[in-house]
């Protein structure tokens, strides 16, 4: 029934639920059990909500199922039970309303930077004039206008991920899913990328669900950090990050930040101790 509702129709949120007015994404009692021989329980009854234009970060140790959760939200995999709704519509398959930036480089190698960013708008059937305007806007947004006609193979890792972000945003998705997008980059590039993402997000006002294992990254970027535990993946704690914006990279040296970091480290260390 929910499928019939239009993605960009604000009235598409479930009627009669006052909280859903500001909610872009709602994960409800999602459980994921891998259907292989071991039948590992990857996600155990996970529920969360991401508010409109919120930057929500999930932080957790590797293998805790945080990436699996993102793949479910993208519709790239099916949950064993539970439901995920974006703008009130149940996620049943992948779609352009849920843009995703992957940890691995996923630019189309046969397309130039410009054509990569244009891919989504082209699939949508936007006219050429409008496409060009969108592409130029996002090329400037990520500072890659001079590289518009380069092929991905000619770009550095950081530049590739900048294009991937621009490509996802050019589609104007309801929610941007980011799966450790800076995980493969060196620490200096990662810092630059975080700064760039913050700037873009502050200007574009997008709903973001960002997954990382890096606590600093989670706190620098997020409005809210969800701490996830492993085997089975569960959300252990929710931490509001009340550090004012716009944030600079120096924020990591401030006492508020360090206090929050200590708290998350504590939560994750409990986890590791239980493990061994």
């Amino acid at each position: 029934m929910t499928e019939t509702l239009k993605a960009n129709n604000p009235a598409g949120t479930a009627p009669g639920d006052p909280r859903s007015a500001g909610t872009t994404m709602a994960v409800e009692d999602v459980t994921l059990r891998y259907s292989d021989a071991n039948g590992v329980l990857a996600l155990d009854d996970v529920s969360l909500k991401v508010a409109r234009n919120e930057f929500c970060v999930i932080v957790g140790p590797s293998g805790c199922g945080k990436s699996s959760l993102l793949y479910l939200a993208a519709g790239l995999n099916d949950a064993t039970s539970g439901s995920i709704k974006v703008d009130g519509r149940e996620v049943i398959e992948p779609g352009p309303d849920r843009g995703m930036v992957f940890q691995s480089y996923t630019l189309f190698p046969w397309l130039t930077v410009r054509a990569n960013i244009e891919y989504g708008p082209k699939r949508k059937g936007l006219p050429a004039e409008q496409r060009k305007q969108i592409v130029d806007q996002y090329l400037n947004e990520v500072g890659l206008a001079p590289f518009a006609d380069h092929y991905p193979a000619q770009l550095s890792g950081g530049m590739k991920q900048r294009v991937a972000i621009a490509r996802a945003l050019a589609n104007d998705p309801a929610v941007l899913l980011m799966d450790e997008p800076f995980g493969a980059l060196d620490s200096q590039t990662r810092g630059t990328m975080q700064k760039l993402l913050l700037r873009v997000w502050e200007r574009q006002q997008k709903t973001v669900l960002f997954v990382t294992h890096d606590i600093d990254e989670a706190l620098v970027l997020g409005d809210r950090v969800l701490v996830m535990t492993a085997r089975p993946g569960k959300i252990k704690a929710e931490i509001k990050v009340d550090i004012p914006r716009p944030r600079s990279m120096d924020v990591i040296l401030e006492p508020d930040f360090i206090a929050l970091k200590r708290r998350i480290l504590g939560l994750l260390h409990d986890e590791i101790d239980e493990d061994h």
């Binding site: 793949y71 790239l76 995703m100 092929y151 991937a164």
Partner: protein
């Protein structure tokens, strides 16, 4: 930086680059060695000229058969057989291989069958082809087709299967439909590997030429060398072999050029 490594160290270091000049010199030296060895064995009468012609005789024969146009005629016939067999095979194997590598439902029924056929010697099918198709050019094309198609199918399906899952996933999140993924994502992503596969299998197609012209051909490089064998014209056999090798080299180079034009993004 001072050159601390000696030339010998560089030549004997695994994977180390050697100067372009050295590489060319080594390649030339190899040819000189082979042709020199041939000249020594033939001119020195170590092997009787009845079995091993001199390079001079082969050149003379080549010149003579070029003048009367017969070399061109036979080369053209052979090239036609190989190219037609190869093109027909590629036209079917590329789309089918893509499907096979993309959809398990296509792979499951086809793979066991293809892997069975692909190990059968092509020669064993020649009598069947003659019975079924006759002795025209179609029979020769069928031999080339049979020799390349099943190998191509397996290799191209591997090209498709090795396309990164996340590349396809990313395309879904950008609005690609499941039915579009094969042609919009998997095909272009696999294209450089597919072109490499075609280049390699083109070489195999040439190697089946003599088998194809073994029976019932009346022209072609394989045919003239078989005829030459009966008349002990070893020089003609040598010329035919050299012509096939040269044609192979030309098609190989052509494919390298095509690949760099069609897929300039891939190194």
């Amino acid at each position: 930086m001072a050159q601390r490594r000696t030339a010998w160290t560089r030549l004997t270091t695994p994977f180390a680059n050697i100067p372009a000049g050295t590489a060319t010199t080594l390649a030339l030296a190899m040819w000189i060695l082979v042709i020199g060895g041939w000249a020594f064995l033939s001119y020195g009468r170590v092997v009787p000229n009845m079995f091993l012609p001199t390079p001079g005789t082969v050149l003379e024969t080549t010149y003579r058969m070029s003048l009367d146009g017969s070399l061109f005629y036979h080369t053209l016939t052979s090239a036609k057989v190989v190219l037609l067999g190869f093109i027909v095979s590629s036209l079917i194997s590329v789309p089918l291989g893509l499907w096979m590598g993309t959809y398990r439902a296509v792979q499951a029924p086809l793979e066991p069958l293809v892997n069975f056929i692909r190990y059968l010697p092509v020669t064993s099918f020649v009598p069947l082809f003659i019975l079924w198709i006759g002795i025209g050019i179609e029979q020769r094309i069928a031999v080339i087709f049979f020799g390349t198609f099943f190998q191509q199918l397996v290799m191209i399906s591997d090209c498709a299967r090795s396309v990164s899952r996340d590349l396809v996933n990313a395309s879904y999140t950008l609005g690609t439909k499941r039915s579009e993924a094969v042609w919009h994502v998997i095909f272009p992503a696999a294209l450089p590997a597919i072109l490499d596969t075609l280049r390699v299998t083109m070489g195999w197609a040439w190697t089946y030429l003599v088998v194809a012209e073994l029976v019932a051909a009346s022209s072609g490089l394989g045919y003239i060398s078989l005829k030459a064998m009966r008349g002990f014209q070893v020089d003609v056999i040598f010329m035919a072999i050299a012509a096939i090798g040269l044609l192979g080299l030309i098609t190989d180079t052509a494919f390298r050029i095509i690949r760099s034009r069609v897929a300039p993004w891939a190194a």
